[in-house]
Amino acid sequence: MSRDFVMPSLGADMASATLLEWWVKPGDRVKKGDVIAVVETSKGAIEIEVFTDGVVEEILVPAGQEVAVGTVMAHIDAAEGDAEAGPASTPASAPASAPRPGVESGSEPAEPSAQPPAEPQIEPPTPTVQPERPGQSQTAIGKRQPVSPAARRLAREQGLDLAMLQGAGKTVHRQDVKQALATQTPATPAPEVASSRPDRPGMRQAIAAAMTRSKREIPHYYLAERIDLRAASVWLSQFNSERPPQQRLLMSALLLRATALALQQYPQMNGFYRDDHFLAGAGIHMGVAISLRGGGLVTPAIHEVDKLSPPDLMRHLLDMTERARRGQLRSSEVTDATVTVTALGERGVESVYGVIFPPQVAIVGFGKVSEQPCVVGDGIAIHPMVQATLAADHRVSDGHLGARFLAAIATRLQHPEQL
């Protein structure tokens, strides 16, 4: 039975995406869960899985073409016994609450119900952004050599087939593409397609749209609290001194963990404002603002932060930051944050007053950690301090509650061993 493979919706506000490449050709056998195409959105390259076993009958859309959501891109001859399969389900590895295709940074997380349902006869493929791991081979459908975004873009601009570079067993970098180009005869340039660089206009437009909506609709209020980090710093130094780099913690992990525990106490800061009322988050899924190299911003979510120990949280944070900056986020990470934390301290600012990502209701900011004079008992001491800020939605909470929330973060950070 022939089934349609369609362009999925990668967010409630997405109308189309550019097909970057097919990983299959007619006649190839595919199985449920294989990645068979890569599309470009303002989030970056997103890998699309097929959710039926079968054989690729026909490719209908060429690479480089902009494709509207719902457009049939290929026909799959479904395998025996799979023809009556229902709509694609979320891969088991994704959180149960998150069958969410990705959305643009700063845009509204898409509720599962907000996704345009596929036509009954159409199989909606589930998009994923799979991490590209060094060592992956190109031998099987759904697997490929990891390619950096810069390399992919250059290859596309120059019309270089990345397959020429694959099989070496390591990540393909821009330099590899340049070397390959230098040794080949000039090729016909590929069709002009949207840039995959993080500073692409699409991402800026998505951020602008979300932030404009936020400032238009959300009555923000702002609070700040100076927090003494001496206890946390001492504990952190001791913790790290005994461990190799991959087991060390950054202060960010303690700040996020303390925030998550405070959110348990103040659930009014964690959730969404929709249809004129507050909907508490089902879990504490913390969107972490990550600046991208070359410009742009994404806020992927770490799920259930309140249930992660600081070392587990640190592992998630490092992994997610690295993948965000390499353009390899997973769809489940970019759609369902219930609150956002931003830390611009590393760039030297004392404090950051965030703009709430609608429909969330709060954003917590941390400035730089710096040595400052503070009163300790009857005297003055020099301690590492950080300015924590809160921007929250006045339709859901007020300043009194917000102040108690910030105080709870500060209190948690005085007992780092309990985080």
């Binding site: 990540t171 330099q175 070359g294 930051t321 900056r325």
Partner: protein, 78 residues
Amino acid sequence: MNQQAMRAAVIEELTRIAPDIDPAGVDDNVSLRDEYDLDSMDSLNLAAALHQRLGIAIPEADFARLQTLGDLLAYLGD
């Protein structure tokens, strides 16, 4: 591992974390943070990668002092 191989290994790990850096154009004498926009997450990822690859666990206090690629290579070479 000789100096050239060490440099190649460090640059490979650096450009894996920051793919937009051209490996051929890395300047040994500029700040990795200011010039190549490495933040604490990137730095910790780099330290972890170097530990795994080279077997050298740079203590946190020492790593904080290594501002440039040249600093890093000199430290690893000692």
